[in-house]
Amino acid sequence: MAGRVITVTSGKGGVGKTTFSANVSAALAELGKKAVAVDTDVGLRNLDIVMGLENRIVYDLVDVVEGRCRLQKAVIRDKRIATLHMLPAAQTRDKSAVSPDAMAKICAELRSQFDFTIIDSPAGIEGGFHSAIAGADEVVIVTTPHVSAIRDADRVIGLLEAAEKQQIFLVVNRVQAAMVRRGDMLDIPDILDILAIELLGIIPEDEFIVVSSNRGELAALHATSSAGQAYKNIARRLLGEDVPLMPVDAEKGLLKWLARLFKGH
């Protein structure tokens, strides 16, 4: 098997890399693909708790790198979806424990065993970032519509181009339709104009992300979550399906009804 290794990165912290990695891995697994989510945020691991797998960790990424266990032993199999897996980061070490070369080797091994290896990177552009992208075939940059996140995304795009990564995709997270409508949030065309890379998906702001991560559940596995639906769409696009983007500025519910009433149509 020659699977795909996709690194999820951003530069800025807190934009939703971990939530994206967890949910897209789950959505790919639900579509029948063998998927593994890998946490490379050594010292600040979080993918485990977001996926609800924090109590099942025995070995971690650093144990594999340092030869204390085989890769298969450190990979946790999810009990909800048989094809979903997770490789946790070490919590008591620092980023220097996983070099880019070591990470590239692990990626090569994962590529031979999984259809999709989704690598969650740490925030920042230091050593941890370079290890996270070392084995990547494709890179997804997660940003929000905030100036700080977009500026950092631009910096990361520059570093990825310098590292000769050819396939770089953008995901815009936490888009608030009402703010976009009244012109108080950068819209997707604005962001694409500034960053000039290919768009993979748009994820709406959704309170259910907090609820699901509180419970250790995955929004992508819930039928009613709007963000969950966006993650599922992204997973299908990764599989080559032509899934249209969900419109950002569609007025819905009561507001749509009121708008129609007052505009007279």
Binding site: V147, I150, R151, D154, R155, G158, A178, R181, R182, G183, D184, M185, L186, D187, D190, D193, I194, A196, L255, L258, A259, F262, K263
Partner: protein
Amino acid sequence: MGFIDSLVKRLSPGGYAQPSKQAAKERLKLALTYDRGGLAQGTIEQLRDGIIQVIAKHLAINEDEIEINFDRTSEQDKLIASIPLRMPPRPRTKGGPATTTAEKAPTRSSKTG
């Protein structure tokens, strides 16, 4: 503007009349020009001083009102300098020698690729 739109505007945090998106875009473009070009802090200030020195040799300019900006688009980055000229007061129609000065555009733009 529809009722809903004005209602939404009134709900805008901070109560601003204008949406903030344009400010975000313009500020980001300038910041990214610095980031991408690896320009040192204060490059614009140095440019401004240099431009003033050169232009002031030939023309009377309004130094305080010079504006220098970068304009980034996906096709091309531009440096746009707006340099207001300080013109002698217009001669009145009555009295005084009729020294009319050819009117010059109040601003001048220079571009760099």
